[in-house]
């Protein structure tokens, strides 16, 4: 166990990556990058200010009636008109905002303070605590919330607070359920286990570790419940069960409006608009919270002017010397670039000017570490670059046909039919609720319009070809009845079913055990022999490439840094990065050839 190799190995990619790693914008910045959320936030804040300072900002006393000025329309004195007693509608709507927000506070705050801790507790303790509490919650949720409100009012007397406490009880249950669900999802995660192994107390784990990760869903829920609370308050006040008669509330205003709205439509329009806008704002805010908490989602800054369309390949871009894109190549990439918008709004290239080609019957290996752009290259070939990313230029020619710029309709016919694809985790790629056979033939039946029976016969043939025993019966099995290796064989068979010209295998053995990996690699070699198929093999593992591929391209930070035949590359790696990769592999395994004994 010598350390000599340690000294020669510099941090190759990591440092380079760390430099490009941008600091993620803070939560608030992410929130404010969404126009709809900003509008909603503005409306809610405005409402809060008006509600708190109603006595200062409202032009009139909300209860000052004037028989002389009944049912006025829009005017200088009464901006939004007056009601049947001559009270100013704008002033009443402003005071109504106070009632509405009071209702929200009374319904949501106690619910959160009760529901969240209990949810945390029962989910973490589990067992009988969980079972008993959850059954009680289910009983409570089976009773309509309004019925609860009526009961509370009957017992404690009429009034907004009593009604809202009843609503609060119902809200507490939804907080409890939500928190419990989030905790149950977070609990098995490694960071919680790590905290347990540190010996932290249950309380610390719940409040310092799990709760911050549950804040997102809880914030979304709060926003939505706030909207619901406003609707319920309006409903109860409309029925005369909420605020006392004559008090300004949006619901009560609607009630007052009933008899006179033919004469003066503003009577119902004003409170109606207030309720709609406010509930809508709370819901939009909920959506905004969700997106802002989801830190994987890039919210690009809006820039004035339209986003430029994908650019044509630059004519002076350097061509990789080995990319002799011959016309008989199955796949030829020429100067392909893929770019994504960054936080600042400008586009960053994750793949830049990649050129290579694959001959018929050739297995081409694309090697690189995470962030090298190798998987994004596959996405580009399959026409599946996830939005808001895009192909920024270059050409991808599959058997003489240009794929760049092809509409999605045609691209979806090419996928599965002319290009087959196998991905890393077979269990993720297969739908658990459908039979393996049905999943294999779906494309065949759709694309080639042959009968189900014929398709199943072909699927069985292929399963047999890839070495699944008892193929015909296994078509009726569900994915969970397959082992990892068998499932990956089934995936390969599914990819072959439309006789594609090219098979793309994106890290197809990374999730598999070594013995299974060996079988899958042998399978690919054997299939190339029998079917004469071309394979694009994406991997991070040079050792796998050495076993399988005819030619290899090495990718680093979006660029193809070296290309050559496998023998050539391993015998004489030219690029320092390739040498580093090989050195790293050697360091891990010990000197090559040692195991040959």
């Amino acid at each position: 166990m010598s350390d000599q190799a340690t000294n020669t190995l510099q941090a190759p990619l990591e440092t380079a990556l760390a430099d490009t790693q941008q600091k993620r914008p803070a939560f608030l910045a992410r929130l404010l990058a969404q126009p709809s959320t900003v509008l909603a936030l503005f409306w809610v804040l405005l409402l809060v200010v008006v509600a708190i300072f109603a006595q200062y900002v409202s032009p009139y006393d909300p209860n000052a009636s004037s028989v002389m000025r009944r049912l006025q329309g829009l005017s200088q004195e009464n901006l939004l008109g007056t009601d049947d007693l001559g009270r100013d509608l704008l002033s009443r709507a402003m005071w109504g905002a106070r009632v509405a927000l009071l209702a929200v506070t009374q319904a949501v705050l106690p619910a959160m303070l009760v529901g969240v801790p209990i949810g945390l507790f029962v989910a973490y303790r589990g067992g009988w605590w969980d079972r008993v509490v959850m059954r009680l919650v289910e009983v409570e949720q089976a009773i309509p919330m309004l019925l609860f409100a009526f009961t509370f009012i009957a017992i404690f007397g009429r009034g907004l607070t009593n009604a809202m406490l009843a609503v609060s009880l119902g809200f507490a249950m939804s907080y409890l359920r939500l928190t419990r669900a989030v905790v149950l999802a977070e609990r098995p995660k490694a960071y919680v286990q790590a905290a347990e192994i540190q010996g932290y107390s249950t309380l610390r784990i719940l409040f310092r570790h799990i709760l911050p990760n549950a804040i997102g869903p809880i914030a979304v829920q709060t926003s939505i419940l706030a909207g619901v609370a406003i609707l319920i308050e309006a409903m109860l006040s409309f029925l005369g069960l909420g605020v006392s008669t004559g008090s300004p509330s949006w619901g009560a205003m609607l009630d007052d409006a009933r008899r006179f709205q033919i004469q003066q439509p503003l009577l119902s329009l004003v409170p109606g608009a207030a309720i709609t806008l406010t509930v809508l704002s709370f819901n939009l805010l909920g959506d905004g919270f969700r997106d802002a908490f989801n830190s994987d989602l890039i919210i690009p800054k809006r820039k004035k002017g339209s986003i430029p369309a994908a650019v044509a390949p630059e004519p002076d871009a350097p061509l990789t010397q080995n990319s002799t894109a011959t016309s008989d190549a199955v796949l030829a990439l020429n100067n392909v670039s893929v770019e994504f918008p960054s936080y600042s709004g400008s586009f960053q290239r994750v793949v830049s000017n990649i050129s290579f080609s694959i001959a018929p019957g050739e297995i081409y290996g694309l090697v690189g570490e995470s962030g090298s752009g190798k998987s994004m290259t596959t996405s580009a070939i399959l026409g599946q670059v996830p939005k808001p990313g895009r192909i920024a230029g270059g050409s991808i020619v599959l058997a003489g046909r240009q794929l760049v710029g092809l509409p999605e309709r045609q691209m979806s016919r090419i996928r599965g039919r002319e290009i087959g694809a196998v991905f890393q985790d077979p269990m993720m790629a297969l739908s658990p609720v459908h039979k393996v056979g049905d999943q294999m033939i779906e494309g065949l039946v759709r694309h080639e319009g042959i009968s189900r029976k014929q398709a199943l016969a072909r699927a069985a043939e292929l399963l047999d070809l890839v070495g699944v025993t008892d193929a015909r019966n296994r078509l009726d099995d569900y994915p969970h009845q397959f082992s990892g290796g068998m499932a990956q064989r089934a995936m390969v068979a599914a990819a072959l079913i439309c006789k594609p010209k090219l098979l793309i295998a994106d890290e197809p053995t990374t999730a598999l055990d070594v013995t299974v990996q060996k079988q899958v690699l042998e399978l690919l070699l054997q299939l190339r022999g029998t079917l004469g198929m071309s394979v694009l093999f994406i991997t991070h593992d040079l050792a796998v490439v050495a076993q399988l591929c005819d030619r290899v391209g090495v990718m680093k930070l979006g660029e193809l840094v070296e290309e050559g035949t496998t023998a050539q590359l391993f015998a004489n790696p030219e690029h320092p990065y390739t040498r580093q990769l090989m050195l790293a592999r050697e360091m891990l395994d010990g000197p090559a050839g040692k195991s040959a004994s």
Binding site: Y191, P212, N572, P573, A584, P591
Partner: protein, 268 residues
Amino acid sequence: MSTSDILRVEDLRIRYEKGRSIWGIPRYGDVVHGVSFSVKQGETFGLVGESGSGKSTIGKAILRQIPVIGGTITFDGQRVTDWPDGRTPLSYRRAVQVVFQSPRLSLNARMLARDTVAEAVAFHLGYKGSQLDGHVAQLFDDVGLPRHFGERYPDELSGGQQQRVAIARALACDPKLVICDEAVSALDVSTQAQVIALLRRLQQERGLSYVFISHDLGVVRNLCHSVGVLQHGRFTDLGSTQKVFERPKSQYTRDLLSAIPRVPGKAA
């Protein structure tokens, strides 16, 4: 079994709950059937096997994450398996730590890297203020992470950097034994090499012992002093790394060894 054994596992048997009948009576499946091994002070024991072989389960039992149904685990003279479930002395928590497979998942996404490490130090050692800051900075230095990365959240760090934070957290209170559960499997090859070099350096500096759980035989051969090869919850081979790799007793171990893909030598 010499006195230099830091960890001794004897006849360990573990089962898991497969499901429950409609009456709530659990049904069990056995995952580990009578496994025995020991880890010497300052050495690395490799636990190798394919998925489902029970290797991670053994790690969880040592970390007291799951109950055992038979056998004993002895750490530093203490009979770990005698403690009731759910009651683990903090001294054991300080002494036995873990590094998980996915660094991204094993760090709290809403905590700064610095805070993740500082919490463990403050919790166990009660440090505050500048003493705490100094200790955390020292840990960052030890794992080769620039100190200013402490002000980042996990998703602002690369995989290797995240794993270094996780290692710093594990080292917070000077443990004697670290369970590395597939600790490098999720990393890029060049990053793996660096993390392995780090683990080896820390072992030399601090006299750490590791239980290195992995499916990658190449890495195990390179890092471990002794190895146990698991299949279906039993050892098919157990002994010094050299012995197991050069003269494997079982066909299963030979199959595993022959399945390792290898890079051809530059001269070849």
